[in-house]
């Protein structure tokens, strides 16, 4: 009998006294901290049913089941104390679970680890978990990434995560977690939202351990079975890492639309035009609309990328975002239904019905504000209306609207529609290209966009296959669109004059000083 088995046997004999010890102590140190800071989500009893629980998906963890995702131990094993400590410290990006390192002392956090473990009898009845052996990350190279891409197809990551990693695989609409709630495969192009962290080491670890309680499997068994090597798993991890930008995107308040002039074929006319590759991309994070009824706590569109150009006559704006499906889609209808049920009709109900489309609204003020004043960020108000470009996937066109509050948009008559849109959906991504002339004939019902100005702009997006419709959308607050002009040559006159003037002045001073030096050497 090995020592491990001995320890195991000892543990099997121990549960009773240990459990007795627990109940002896009515108020373990961790309980006070837990009740104050964790119970609002995880519930006083640790079952993940605190008052905040219904506003989040994934739900807060049920600690009585001892299912932990961020581990260094094998699939189905308990986490080590350090694993639990790590999650408490840094939280889980992409979920509601925050990090606590700054707020709680290390003693308090250690007490919490003990307390969380005491909520499940598994920790008492099982041997202490053994850490997996992790190798060190090999240096990334193009070859490794290329091989990783092959393995990605070979071991069928794409079944769930899709060919491009945007969670659009054929099995995606049927994924559920262990509590029978719908769950999305992670969007692999956004590593800053990975629950266990976004570095290549984090990805490798997740591939080795799996995410217990979710459909995300472990791939350690493929190594054990000799299907792939440990080194190849690293290549896969490098490939997954390469799907996301090198650095997490930064939020910039001003979206610049450069003036392309009339050279080079003018503005791109298609959303898939290659020229968009070279145009600066602006990252716009979106969050659920939780300001007016009915609220929405589970937005699918987490962010948009916006690119814009103009040619002094027209403006072209390309908005692209990850969306695993083109709504409406029969195959996704049950999934949407489950989401609607899980997120509950919170206020006065959900407005979603099967067949809901994907939608995007680009919002401007109806008239260019002179001071700070603008329309309310959710489609304006009675006093300051908003002017919208509204696109929907089922009509496949965009219309101009004027709105005085969220959802009040009135379509302008067909004769005064000026905006055009062309959309393309491929591999889990929408790309919608809007185009309009900067100045339009309907000067009272369309925003006029003079050149060289900064125009407030905001966005709203809906994923119909995620139970979204009406006010239940993903939204942003105000950003700005800057219609840039090439710097005119005349601007250079002043700096040039300043340069010459100072240069001449300097020369005069120096020559005078030198002349005087010759006349009376040594004096200054």
């Amino acid at each position: 009998m090995g020592t491990r088995a001995l320890v195991m046997a000892a543990y099997l004999l121990l549960p009773l006294p240990l459990a007795a010890q627990e109940t002896d102590n009515e108020n373990p140190a961790g309980k006070v901290v837990y009740d104050r800071w964790c119970a609002g989500c995880h519930g006083t009893d640790g079952r993940g049913e605190g008052p905040g629980a219904l506003t989040m998906l994934p739900r807060p963890r049920d600690f009585t089941r001892a299912l932990y995702q961020v581990r260094t131990t094998g699939s189905g094993e308990l986490p080590t104390d350090d694993d639990i400590m790590h999650v408490i410290n840094v939280g889980m990006p992409g979920t509601a679970m925050p990090g606590w390192e700054d707020l709680l002392s290390s003693q308090e956090r250690e007490d919490l680890v003990t307390y969380l473990k005491s909520m499940s009898r598994f920790f008492n009845s099982s041997p202490p978990p053994a850490q997996l052996e992790f190798s060190n990350a090999p240096r990334v190279s193009d070859d490794r990434i290329a091989e990783g891409a092959e393995i990605y197809e070979q071991v069928e990551c794409s079944k769930c995560h899709g060919r491009s990693g945007r969670a659009d695989g054929p099995s995606a609409p049927t994924q559920k977690d262990d509590s029978d709630l719908p769950i999305y495969p992670a969007n692999l192009t956004q590593n800053w939202r990975f629950n266990g962290g976004g570095t290549v080491e984090d990805i490798y670890r997740v591939l080795r351990t799996g995410l217990d309680g979710t459909p995300m499997p472990t791939f350690s068994d493929l190594i054990d079975a000799g299907v792939i090597t440990d080194d190849q798993l690293w290549n896969l991890a490098h490939y997954v890492r390469s799907l996301s930008p090198e650095e997490s995107p930064r939020i910039r308040e001003v979206i610049t639309a450069a003036n392309v002039g009339d050279g080079e074929g003018g503005l791109p006319t298609s959303p898939t035009d290659e020229r968009w590759e070279t145009v600066d991309k602006f990252y716009i994070p979106l969050v659920g609309q939780i300001v007016v009824k009915p609220r929405w706590f589970n937005p699918r569109v987490q962010n948009l990328w916006v690119q814009a150009l103009h040619d002094s006559a027209d403006v072209a704006m390309l908005v692209s975002w990850s969306d695993p499906s083109r709504s409406p889609n029969e195959e996704w209808a049950p999934f949407a239904q489950q989401i609607v049920e899980a997120m509950g009709p919170k206020d006065e109900g959900s407005t979603w019905a099967p067949g809901a489309p994907d939608q995007l609204v680009v919002q401007f003020p109806l008239t260019l504000p002179t001071g700070m004043e603008r329309p309310y960020f959710l489609q304006g108000d009675a006093r300051r209306p908003a002017y919208l470009w509204s696109w929907r996937s089922d009509h496949d066109r965009a219309v101009e609207m004027v709105a005085r509050g969220l959802g009040t948009g009135q379509e302008q008559p067909a004769s005064s529609q000026q905006v055009s849109a062309e959309a393309a959906w491929a591999d889990g991504e929408w790309r919608v290209l809007f185009r309009r002339s900067l100045a339009t004939p309907d000067s009272t019902s369309d925003l006029q966009m003079p050149r060289a100005t900064v125009v407030p702009v905001a966005f709203q997006a809906w994923d119909g296959n995620n139970g979204e419709a009406g006010n239940q959308a993903a939204v942003s607050t105000w950003y700005f669109l800057a219609l840039e002009e090439p710097v005119p040559v005349t601007v250079l006159i002043t700096p040039l004059a300043a340069f010459l003037l100072t240069a001449v002045l300097g020369l005069v001073v120096v020559t005078r000083a030198q002349r005087r030096e010759k006349e009376i050497p040594g004096r200054n």
């Binding site: 800071w37 979106l286 969050v287 939780i290 007016v292 700070m372 601007v491 240069a503 300097g506």
Partner: protein, 265 residues
């Protein structure tokens, strides 16, 4: 003072360098000593301080004839000495180029976001209409503090907070909820000494009841994502969540007496 230069010119340079370091890095340390949050010093203020320091240095060197002569010596040397010709040429190009560059920065058309001056705590109205009823804000106290059990109110406020406020203001009450990155202005932190800790509960009641849309124009009501909670909560529920905010953040509200003694929001 082994490192202290002897020549007035270099002494002047040293004083200016020290003044710069003090202004840019030293001064921001002062407010925290008094418990006020610190902020970096704007460039225009740095320029002003540095000009003052420069005038001071010039006054000092010109105060004494020999010192003035010594001070001018390096300038003179650069202008006339054959040995210093390379420095002279470089300066003759660099200085005008610098001036030209600054001028370019001034005249270049730039498209920035319009500046936003937002009063975070504008003066509250003296009374509001709450769900069709008029409530006097001036002198208003939290009625739950003298009714029932504070623990019960805290627990009720906690449920309300986790169901409604969490996504924005965060479980740490630090304004960093998992939705906060989507909003500009960002949700306020109740841990900060500059928010609820310096407000009367009546003000907090008004802000929760009327939300961002209820702000006067100087508060930028069109930008604020703070919902108007009178649409969702009853009067007592708002008072309960107010109690939770103060208890959880470990802060005490300002009272009307303190208010009358002369502070402002």
């Amino acid at each position: 003072m082994r490192f202290w230069p002897k020549e007035p010119f270099w002494q002047g340079v040293a004083v200016l360098v020290m003044a710069f370091l003090l202004i840019v890095f030293g001064i921001p340390y002062l407010p925290p000593l008094l418990g006020i949050p610190s902020a970096p010093i704007p460039n225009s203020v740095v320029v002003q301080y540095m000009l003052t320091a420069l005038v001071g240095v010039l006054l000092w060197v010109s105060d004494n004839q020999t010192r003035w002569q010594q001070f001018k010596q390096p300038f003179h040397a650069v202008m006339v000495e054959e040995r210093k010709k390379p420095i002279r040429m470089i300066l003759l190009v660099l200085l005008p180029a610098l001036i030209g560059f600054i001028a370019y920065g001034r005249v270049k058309p730039s498209l920035d976001a319009p500046p936003s001056f937002r009063a975070i705590h504008p003066a509250p109205p003296s009374s509001i209409t709450f769900q069709g009823r008029t409530i006097e804000i001036t002198g208003l106290e939290n009625p739950l503090r003298t009714r029932g059990s504070l623990d019960d109110h805290y627990e009720e406020g906690k449920s309300i907070y986790y169901e409604n406020c969490l996504a924005c203001h965060g479980d740490l009450l630090d304004g960093l909820g998992h939705y906060s990155h989507g909003f500009n202005p960002t949700p306020l932190s109740f841990q900060d000494v500059g928010t609820i800790a310096q407000l009367a509960e009546s003000f907090v009641f008004w802000r929760i009841a009327k939300g961002g849309v209820g702000l006067p124009n100087e508060g930028g009501p069109w930008n604020s994502a703070m919902p108007a909670w009178e649409e969702f909560l009853t009067e007592d529920e708002i008072w309960a969540v107010t109690i939770f905010l103060y208890e959880q953040a470990g802060k005490t509200p300002r009272t009307w007496e303190e208010h009358a003694e002369g502070g402002e929001h």
